[in-house]
């Protein structure tokens, strides 16, 4: 046991060293290059870094946020032209760059405001239009030098006395370093997780409080800022900028870098940029075959390493390191023993939770998991804590209607949910249960009717605003962000509480660390509360479906919910686990003044904890009331059991 854990630790150290050593080696190479290369290859290296910076921005938009834009050449051109035109008019080069950045951001905001409303394919098409417009403006405007172009100033922080290309190289290297760090910070921040959320599961992200449209717009603007800076240093490198440099060849280059390097990989952006800047130089003699070789390279990458060369290569290297590691520690190669310990360690804790009726300790665990509550939001709104509240309903649905393609899914549905009440929503398949949750959370617009939370009308709000009112839900088919761990997925639920701005996110943990850690603790405790602590570090895609549903429950819990809408969370778990879950839900609503709607098919499970029951059949309410009397109704028995 002892040597096994030791072996495992050495292995992880080896891996960690492998990961950070990459960065150090990269830095060393960057610093050494000017002393190793002649001025031509230093120029190639500088060009590589400029493309890499642009690609990092492109990766944020296309890879992380899933918005395929073909207009990345536009901000790139703005950067190059802004510094060229600015300095031609006697404006300081850095001020010109700043003006360029602002201009890019404004243009992206305006263009994105219109085009980001379009669905993927049409968005990509619309962005092509932007490139055409830009090229026309550059070729015909009086201040751009027309088709023959305009000379662009070199961008340097200062002179080293080693020659202008060395000065430029060091400046670009510094810019690249900043861009790389900012991208890494962004990826590990709330904003980065929200980007992934709108890419994979936009509906679920909205119900976590992520404003989908605004987040797309943010990604669009951030990516254009990267491109503007990259364009400016690029212009300085090639001295003269003209419209034909910023056409479709450039867009294809950006796409190729992204595909070959990897869509969400920082190192991949460098690898891709290096390949596509260096290769043309090598392939000079093969002139005609150059594009052919490029095309083949892209096709082969898509076939053999669809995630991109860097992620695939890194995976192979990691596997190799692990293998070498286990050979070095042959005596401790029996890894399963080491693995079993933490997993089985959970069992006693859970078994205890099952038998101990007192919910005290768990309640405390949740209390700590809970983020700072806004004043007055804690239990105590209602005069009798621990009991179902009276007076104003927490959630009220009145005359809700919805039809799909002319077929009514909900007709004139009304219901009330009091504070701390648990309502079971049951009905045959296709009776409208999920549609009702979709209409309440505004994932779908209702055709008619109103929904109020604590008396306030939410039926005209957008989904993320409904989330901000404390309405949280799970999905019938789990909606989680792939490529993230279980813990990171849960953390997405606290998007509103985190309030992390894009600037802070780019700045990194120094600005966001405290809030990130606080939410991380809360997420960990929410997982513990549901008995899922051991899954925290696992990639969410490796977790079984039923557990994924419970991860969604944890994601709801850290969002300071007032109303929880659970869509079949007990499907696929066994009766013992159901008992545990029922107990958790029951104590949560009492301790935190939460009202719960449970959509379920397992009546044993819901009757254990539900205070009331609403039965839907073909979109209409056929029974509403106390569970035992509802279940005794002949109409219900016929609809549900066919008896």
């Amino acid at each position: 046991m002892q040597p096994a854990t030791l072996g495992a630790r050495r292995r992880t150290l080896l891996q960690a060293a492998g990961q950070s050593s990459g960065i150090w080696i990269g830095l060393l190479v960057l610093a050494a290059l000017p002393f190793m290369l002649d001025s031509f290859y230093l120029f190639v290296a500088s060009l590589t870094l400029a493309y890499a910076v642009a690609s990092l921005g492109f990766g944020i938009l296309v890879g992380s946020s899933g918005q395929v834009s073909l207009a990345h050449a536009v901000p790139f051109a703005i950067g190059a032209y802004a510094t060229a035109i600015g300095t031609a008019h006697g404006v300081n080069v850095w001020l010109s760059l700043l003006i360029g950045i602002v201009l890019s951001a404004v243009i992206s905001l305006a263009a994105g405001f219109v085009t980001l409303r379009l669905s993927e394919f049409y968005f990509a098409l619309a962005t092509i239009g932007l490139v055409v417009v830009m090229q026309n403006v550059l070729a015909t405007a009086s201040f751009t030098g027309g088709t023959s172009g305009i000379s662009a100033p070199p961008i340097t922080f200062g002179s080293t006395g080693l020659g202008q290309i060395v000065d430029q190289y060091f400046t670009i290297a510094a810019v690249t370093l900043l861009a790389g760090l900012a991208t890494r910070n962004l990826n590990s921040s709330f904003v980065g997780r929200a980007f992934n959320g709108i890419r994979d599961v936009p509906g679920a992200a909205a119900t976590c409080g992520v404003p989908v449209f605004r987040t797309k717009l943010t990604a669009f603007i951030v990516s254009s800022v990267y491109a503007t800076v990259a364009g400016a240093v690029y212009g300085g490198l090639i001295s003269v900028v003209s419209p034909d440099q910023f056409g479709f060849n450039l867009i294809l280059l950006f796409l190729a870098i992204l595909i070959v390097g990897g869509k969400v990989s920082i190192a991949g952006a460098f690898l891709g940029a290096a390949a596509f800047t260096y290769l043309p130089q090598v392939l000079q003699p093969a002139q005609g075959a150059q594009n052919l070789i490029f095309g083949l390279a892209i096709m082969l990458t898509m076939l053999l390493a669809p995630d991109g060369l860097w992620p695939t290569g890194a995976r192979l290297v990691r596997r190799g390191v692990t293998r070498i590691g286990s050979r070095l520690h042959l005596a401790s190669a029996r890894q399963p023993a080491a693995q079993l310990a933490p997993v089985s360690g959970v069992v006693p804790a859970r078994a205890e939770a099952l038998t101990v009726a007192d919910t005290g300790p768990h309640a405390r665990a949740v209390a700590e998991a809970r983020l700072d509550l806004p004043p007055g939001a804690d239990a105590g709104d209602s005069p009798v804590p621990g009991e179902t509240g009276r007076g104003q309903p927490r959630l009220e649905v009145s005359h809700l209607s919805k039809a799909f393609g002319g077929v009514p899914a909900l007709s004139d549905v009304s219901m009330q949910l009091r504070p701390r009440q648990i309502m079971a929503l049951i009905g045959p398949n296709g009776s409208g249960k999920t549609t009702m949750l979709n209409c309440i959370t505004r994932i779908l617009p209702a055709d008619g009717g109103t929904v109020t939370v604590d008396g306030a009308d939410i039926s005209r709000l957008s989904a993320h605003q409904v989330a901000a009112r404390g309405v949280r839900r799970t999905f019938q088919f789990p909606q989680l962000v792939s490529g993230r761990t279980v813990l990171e997925n849960v953390m997405l639920g606290a998007h509103l509480e985190a309030r992390i701005s894009i600037v802070a996110a780019l700045g990194g943990r120094a600005f966001t660390g405290r809030r990130e850690r606080r939410v991380e603790d809360a997420a960990r405790q929410a997982l513990e509360t549901l008995g899922l602590g051991r899954y925290a570090a696992m990639p969410v895609t490796a977790v079984e479906g039923p557990t994924q549903k419970l991860i969604e429950v944890a994601r709801c819990l850290i969002g300071q919910p007032r109303v929880l809408l659970f869509d079949e969370i007990a499907s696929g778990i066994n009766s013992v686990e159901k008992g545990f879950l029922a107990e958790r839900i029951d104590s949560l609503r009492r301790d935190y003044d939460i009202s719960v709607v449970l959509v379920e098919h397992d009546l044993d499970f819901v009757t254990k904890i539900a205070d009331s029951m609403l039965v839907l059949e073909s979109g209409s309410v056929i029974a509403d009331g106390e569970p035992s009397s509802v279940l005794a109704a002949p109409l219900v028995r016929e609809a549900y059991f066919g008896a």
Partner: protein, 242 residues
């Protein structure tokens, strides 16, 4: 039509560093119903995914009769008659319910538009009146549970040699779940389909299965007939805690 037996021998499956299955041996005899029980995360779904070729084992083998399955691609395994159920909500949203169902004929390389293919649907409609009622409706207008049912009904139409049934009752109202279980039992008795079922509806699983395996954190902790577990519920529940 006798079905070959499905033999899983000593398989170990890992996701990265996480060991999902450890030296698991499971046999589903030809023409029988075998149930796999266990807590959430015990590795039941991983077992089925390994058999259907989606996940590769680090050690051990999977054979169907005398054919090795664990070296085959998923589509080859499916062609050999091993069908996993349900395949999520794998329905074609813009096709009608009936069009979705007749597609099953393609599996046997027959025309989906033949009268024979249509005729096959009659018993399905009889068993699931909901599908009959919605036969002309586009699949996207169906609820999640109804789509699930449609996918199950279509897979049963394939008349597979081996059926890997993963949580058939998932998301289905009791009346629908019963109809699905009946259909599976019927496939077993009439077509001789070998069934390996993962089920949380323990009562129903024990009732249907002749052989039962219980998994716990990736290992088999019980292998034997259903009867002892029916008689000793406490023992069963002690297995079911993660």
């Amino acid at each position: 039509m006798p079905s070959p037996s499905l033999q899983v021998t000593g398989i170990t499956v890992k996701y990265g560093d996480f060991t999902a299955l450890r030296d698991v041996t499971v046999e589903a005899a030809g023409n029988s119903i075998t149930a796999v029980l266990g807590a959430n995360g015990a590795g039941k779904t991983t077992l089925l995914r390994t058999i259907s070729g989606i996940v590769r084992p680090r050690a051990g083998s999977v054979t169907l009769g005398d054919r090795r399955l664990d070296t085959q691609a998923p589509h080859v395994v499916a062609r050999l008659g091993v069908v996993q159920l349900p395949e999520g909500r794998g329905v074609f949203p813009d096709m009608t319910v009936e069009e979705n169902l007749v597609l099953a004929a393609l599996y046997h390389r027959r025309s989906p538009w033949s009268t024979a293919a249509k005729k096959q649907l009659e018993p399905v409609y009889e068993q699931f009146p909901m599908l009959a009622q919605k036969r002309a409706a586009h699949a996207w207008t169906l609820s999640g549970g109804q789509q699930q049912l449609l996918a199950i009904a279509r897979s049963l139409l394939l008349r597979p040699a081996v059926l890997l049934a993963d949580e058939l009752s998932f998301g289905l109202a009791p009346i629908m779940a019963d109809a699905v279980f009946d259909q599976v039992a019927q496939a077993n008795t009439e077509d001789g389909t070998t069934v390996l079922m993962v089920e949380q509806n323990v009562g129903r699983a024990l009732e249907m299965a002749s052989q039962v395996y219980v998994l716990r954190t990736g290992s088999v902790v019980y292998a034997g007939p259903a009867q002892p577990l029916i008689e000793n519920k406490d023992k069963l529940f002690s297995y079911m805690i993660a």
